[in-house]
Symmetry: none
Subunit: 198 residues, 4 copies
DNA sequence: CATGAATGAGTATTCATTCAT
DNA sequence: CATGAATGAATACTCATTCAT
């Protein structure tokens, strides 16, 4: 049970970290501030995490584990391909809505290091890379199921980015997220292109 | 000609800065490292730029000025709307090709500050924001000319991001950029959606 | 007792700071030099003081708190006005004797900022200002009690400065401080003017 | 005449330096700012002055030469001793009025270095020291002429400081300088002490 | 003589990490 | 295991001074 306790404490710290980062952003995040926010000593953090980078990766890790589970659920379900696509859009938007601060900030911050360095040595980079590969390969199958013949990998990536782009559009241009409306919009755009908006 | 010399040196420093950032990313960029990389003293940098932020903005500024000019040229030309769309895709891809490292990295880094803090006080934030507003409003007109009735602003933003997404896809997945092929792909995707790939 | 240890260390640093400043002056005082002089790391200073200004204010703060207490004791006592004046002179000279280097230097340095910029935003300036106002208003009452009818504020200020002037005279002209003699001298000068020396 | 030209240029630079310092204070004074303010190159300053300290001493030097001349005129005149004292007070207040920013600031800044280090190695220190010695010894003679028997040196120094103290009182407490009134006040205070204000 | 670009040591401050308790 | 004081390398920026032109 000691291990279990340890795991619980780790999770508690991660929860606090998410809370802090969502409220204050990644850039100002320091180990001291986190320790104080958790009400524990700085040194204690290092009993649960190797270093800051390790902690920061784990901050998003289980969120992504969660999304992976949900994606698998959708893709493994009984819906037809288009229904699955619609479901994934909804699920993606809901996911971003629930983790919006954390994930947008994170996604961008990681990309700094990693777009530039696909073979990046940072833990961030490796982590994002794994997630992307996982997501893209799953989504390629869906596209195959929809009869898409060409460029499935690129299209899968563009799908992944589209979700984020809608979210960042809303933030940048002060538009409220409306899951129903935006899911429909995104479906139309992604499936039929802009000509659907004529 | 003294002024000219000064301008040349400023440009030389900016060139070195671009080189360094392309190779190492924005996040680790420091004035000391740049000075060493340029083979000059730290203080010298401050003879040419007010401060780090000033330098970093100028690193992208003239690149963006260039793209603005080219966009205006296309949009003000005699082509019909679809031709203009195609031209903008080509121009965008070419632009990214020529400045790929710098601009993808930059776009992402700025988004960290600015998605999270849309009213960011950083020069970076203000600069990207201006560019985005400029681009989106121009592109909205083009979409209007193409008979797009709804959500033109969102669609304009998605276009802007699509170019970047194609580039980052190529980088992340080790695919070579082929302007002809990718311009056609992007046109199909953007105009007709994924169903064009069936 | 941990808090006590912290307080002790803070006091130890302040003591070292006073020692350094007394030996080398305020103008050349830097955090690096102090750290080296204390035999600790630069960062450690910042565990005990918010910043340089904070430290520099605290360097004099408790000394001045001490003098305020003593002044209140004298003024609130049972002596008649002239006796109180004599006591304050003695107390002032003793105080300067015990803190001579630090306080003379400090008083002058602050005046630079504050004569020139009376509404100075520096913590130094605010601190000296408060002290001056406090002292002058207290001393005005004493002068009133002595039957002084005009220009009490100016005379109070001149008293405050006289103490410092005697000390700096001794330092500049290599004269030994003799509390009895100098207190009498100052009393005669302040109360009767130079004609008392005829 | 070359030497003359050189002297003129030196004087012109000193005038500009005084102008700048009076307006902006000593603390922010830099060689670059002065050069720009003079409309000449930084390096040129070093053709006329050995270094910054040299320049800063010369900034006050001829002002003090002037006051020395005036003091000699008064002391060498036909007035009786008390009249001479009155004249010196007026002359001192007028002098401070005309050079108030420069001299108060300077006097204080120098004292930082020099109260602390009577044997200071700085040019500032040496210069102030010389001036003080000069003034005090002259004024001692005046006091002797007034029949002052004891402590003439100290009293001379206190006189010197009194002038400055009245000026700084006016600045700190927002009181307007009134030469007639303040000269009388200072005479009363210095000659008869505070009891004259009963 | 005049220039002003270049220098580099120096400033205050931050923060991930360590380690003795 | 928990602590948190201590560390010191790193950061952006300044400025008196030099020297090649």
């Amino acid at each position: 049970m000691v291990l279990n306790m340890e795991k619980q404490k780790r999770q508690a710290i991660l929860g606090k970290a998410r809370e802090w980062i969502s409220a204050n952003g990644f850039s100002n995040f320091t180990m001291s501030k986190l320790a104080k926010f958790c009400g524990i000593a700085k040194g204690t953090l290092y009993n649960y995490f190797d270093n800051k980078e390790d902690l920061m990766v784990k901050v998003v890790e289980d969120r992504v584990v969660e999304i992976h589970r949900e994606v698998d659920e959708i893709l493994g379900g009984a819906q037809d391909a288009e229904e699955k696509l619609r479901s994934m859009i909804r699920q993606g938007l809901e996911f971003y809505r629930d983790n919006v601060d954390l994930l947008i900030v994170y996604a961008n911050e990681v990309k700094i290091a990693d777009c530039k360095f696909p073979s990046s040595a940072t833990a961030h980079g490796r982590f994002l890379r794994e997630h992307l590969d996982w997501f893209v390969s799953r989504f390629e199958q869906l596209l195959a199921g929809m009869g898409i013949k060409r460029e499935r990998r690129l299209l899968a990536y563009l799908f992944h980015q589209s979700l984020e782009n809608v979210m960042s559009f809303n933030m940048l241009f002060g538009r409220e997220l409306d899951i129903d409306r935006d899911a429909n919009l995104l479906y139309s755009f992604y499936f039929h292109g802009v000509e659907a908006f004529q």
